[in-house]
C-alpha cells in the first residue's frame, strides 16, 4: 500500500464517520424531541395540581368551570369535565358515522370495482385528505351551520355540526387504512369462498372483513385520534358554550377549542392558564394512549 492509498482510506473513514454520526444524531433528535415535548408540556400541566392544589379527580370529573373564582380551600374551580365530555362525544360520533362509510368505500375500491376505485375514488380520498382543516371549518361554518339552523332548528352551531365536519375529516384516514388491509389479503381467501359457492357479499361479510378486522380497527383508532386532536375546524362550528349538551343540536365545547380560544388571553401562571396546560397534557396522554392501543392491536395480529 502506498501513501496515496492510505490517504484515500483515511478520507473514506473520515466521511464514513461524519455521515454515520450525522444520521445517528438525526435519529436521536427524534427521541429527544418526543421526550422533551412530554417533559415540557407535563411540567406546565402539573401546576394545576401542585401550585393550585386542585385534585386530579376534581379536574377530570368536576363540571364547575370558574377559574377566576377561589373555593373554600383556596383552590380555583377548574373542572374540565365538560370539555372532556365534549371531545369524547364528538369524536365517538365522528367514528361511528365515518367507519361504515369508510369500510364501504374500501370494499368498493378493492372488491366491487377496482377499476373505478383506482381511477376515481382513490384520488377523491387523497384530495379529501389534502383539504386543510381551516377550510373544512370554513365550509362547516358557511354551509353546514346555516343548513342545520334551517332544517333541524337551534343555532346551527352544535355537536352535530362538529360531528359531521369531523366525520368527513377522518374518513380518508380510516378508508385508506381499510383499503390497504383488504388489498393485502391473500387471493386464496376469495377463491376459497367462491369455490364453496358463496356470493360476493357473503365473501365480503363472512371472510374478507373479518380477516382484515385488526387492521381496520387500527384505522378507526387513528381516525379517533385525529378527531380528538382536531382544533380549529371543531372550534369554528361547535358553538363553544361551556355546558353539557342535552342533545345533538346543542352547542358545546371541546378540550382543543378552549385551549385555542383562551391560551392567548390568559396570564401565564394564573390558575386559568395552568388549567389549559393541564388540558394540553391530557390531550398528549390520550393521543399517546391511542398509539399504545394500536401497537397492542398490531402485535396481536402478528
Amino acid at each position: 500500500m502506498d501513501k496515496n492509498d492510505i490517504a484515500i482510506i483515511k478520507s473514506k473513514r473520515k466521511s464514513e464517520l461524519i455521515g454515520k454520526s450525522y444520521t445517528t444524531a438525526c435519529g436521536m433528535l427524534i427521541i429527544i424531541l418526543t421526550l422533551s415535548i412530554f417533559f415540557f408540556i407535563a411540567s406546565k400541566g402539573v401546576a394545576t395540581f401542585t401550585t393550585d392544589h386542585v385534585s386530579i379527580f376534581d379536574f377530570l370529573f368536576s363540571s364547575t368551570w370558574a377559574p377566576e373564582k377561589i373555593g373554600s380551600r383556596g383552590q380555583p374551580y377548574v373542572g374540565a369535565a365538560i370539555f372532556i365530555a365534549g371531545s369524547i362525544i364528538v369524536s365517538i360520533f365522528a367514528v361511528l358515522v365515518s367507519t361504515p362509510i369508510s369500510i364501504c368505500s374500501a370494499v368498493f375500491m378493492t372488491e366491487i370495482s377496482p377499476k373505478l376505485g383506482e381511477k376515481f375514488l382513490r384520488p377523491a380520498i387523497e384530495l379529501f385528505a389534502g383539504i386543510p382543516s381551516v377550510v373544512y371549518g370554513w365550509i362547516g361554518l358557511s354551509i353546514l351551520v346555516p343548513f342545520l339552523r334551517n332544517t333541524v332548528g337551534g343555532l346551527g352551531f352544535s355537536l352535530l355540526a362538529a360531528g359531521i365536519v369531523l366525520t368527513i375529516m377522518i374518513f380518508p384516514t380510516i378508508a385508506s387504512v381499510a383499503a390497504d388491509s383488504l388489498r393485502v389479503l391473500p387471493s386464496d381467501y376469495r377463491e376459497a369462498a367462491y369455490a364453496l359457492g358463496a356470493t360476493r357479499w357473503q365473501t365480503i361479510k363472512g371472510v374478507l372483513i373479518p380477516a382484515a378486522l385488526p387492521q381496520i380497527f387500527t384505522g378507526v383508532v387513528l381516525g379517533m385520534a385525529r378527531a380528538f386532536g382536531e382544533a380549529l375546524a371543531v372550534q369554528m362550528v361547535i358553538g363553544n358554550s361551556i355546558k353539557f349538551p342535552q342533545g345533538l343540536t346543542d352547542p358545546t365545547i371541546t378540550l382543543t377549542s378552549i385551549i385555542t380560544m383562551d391560551m392567548g388571553n390568559t396570564v401565564a401562571g394564573s390558575a386559568w392558564n395552568n388549567a389549559l396546560w393541564s388540558m394540553a397534557l391530557l390531550l398528549l396522554l390520550i393521543s399517546f394512549g391511542f398509539i399504545i392501543l394500536i401497537r397492542r392491536i398490531s402485535k396481536r395480529g402478528d
Binding site: T23, I37, I131, I259
Partner: protein
Amino acid sequence: MKAKTYDRIATAVFYTVALSVMLLLFLIVGYILYKGLRTINLNFITSSPKFMETGGGVAPQLYNSFCMLVLSMVITIPLGVGAGIYMAEYAKPGKITNFIRLCIETLSSLPSIVIGLFGFLIFVNRMKLGFSLLSGAMAVTVLNLPSMTRLSEDAIRGVDPSIKEASLALGASKWETIYKVIIPSAMPGLITGTIISAGRVFGEAAALLYTGGMTTPELRFDILNPLVRNSPLSPLRPAETLSVYIWKVNSEALAPDARQIADGASALLLIVVFLFNFFARYLGRIFHRHHEGSK
C-alpha cells in the same frame, strides 16, 4: 335465491356509498372554488388586508405562507432525510430502534395544537424568538419530521439492493454508497413525498397560532436587511399565514367583507394545496416512466 338478492342489494349499497363520497367531494370543492373565484382577482392577491373596510387582500399572508413553507422545508429535509437514512441503513434491530419507532408514531399522532403549544414554550419563550416566522417554521418541522423520516426511510429501502451491493463491491464505503448511489436512486420517492408534505405545511394553522403569530407587520420590500423587522427577508418577524388568517377572519371579523375574504382565501389555499398534490403526482409519473424506459 335469497343469497343472490342480498348480494345485489349489497352491491347497490357499495355503489351508492362510493358515488355519494365522490359527489360530496365534488360539491365541497366546487362550492369553495365557485364562491372563492368570485373574490380572487389581482387586487386580492396583491394588496394588504384592510381594517374595518372592504376591499382588503391577502398578499402578506400569502407571502408569509410561502416563506413558512420554504424555511420549514429547509429545516425539515436535512433532518428528516438524515433520520430516514439512519433508520434504513444504520439502525440495528433492538430496543433503541424500536423506541425511535414508538417516538415517530407518537409524534405523528400528536394533535397539532399540542405541538403549537410546545413551540410556544420552547421556541417563542425559552429561545426568545417571539412570535416569528422562525418559531412557526420550527413548530411545523416538529409536525412534519415523523412523516419526512418515514417517507425517506421507505424511499431508501425501496432502492434495489443489487445497486447497493455493486457499489460496496467496487470498494465504496457505506457512506459513499449512501451518498452517491442510494440517495440518487431514491430521489423520485424523496421528491414526491417532500412535495406532498410541503402542501401540508401550507394548510397548517393550529400549530402556528401560538408560534408564527396572528399578526403581520407592514412589509417594506425596499428593506432587504434581514435584521429589520419590516424586512420581507427577516425570519424574526411575526408571520401570520393564509390558513391562520382564515381562522382569524372568522373568529374576529374586523372587516365587513370578512365572508368574501374567507371565501377567497379558502379557495386560494385549496388551489395551492391541490397544485402541490398534482405536481407531486405528475413528477411521480414522469419518474416512473423514466425508470421503466431505462430498463
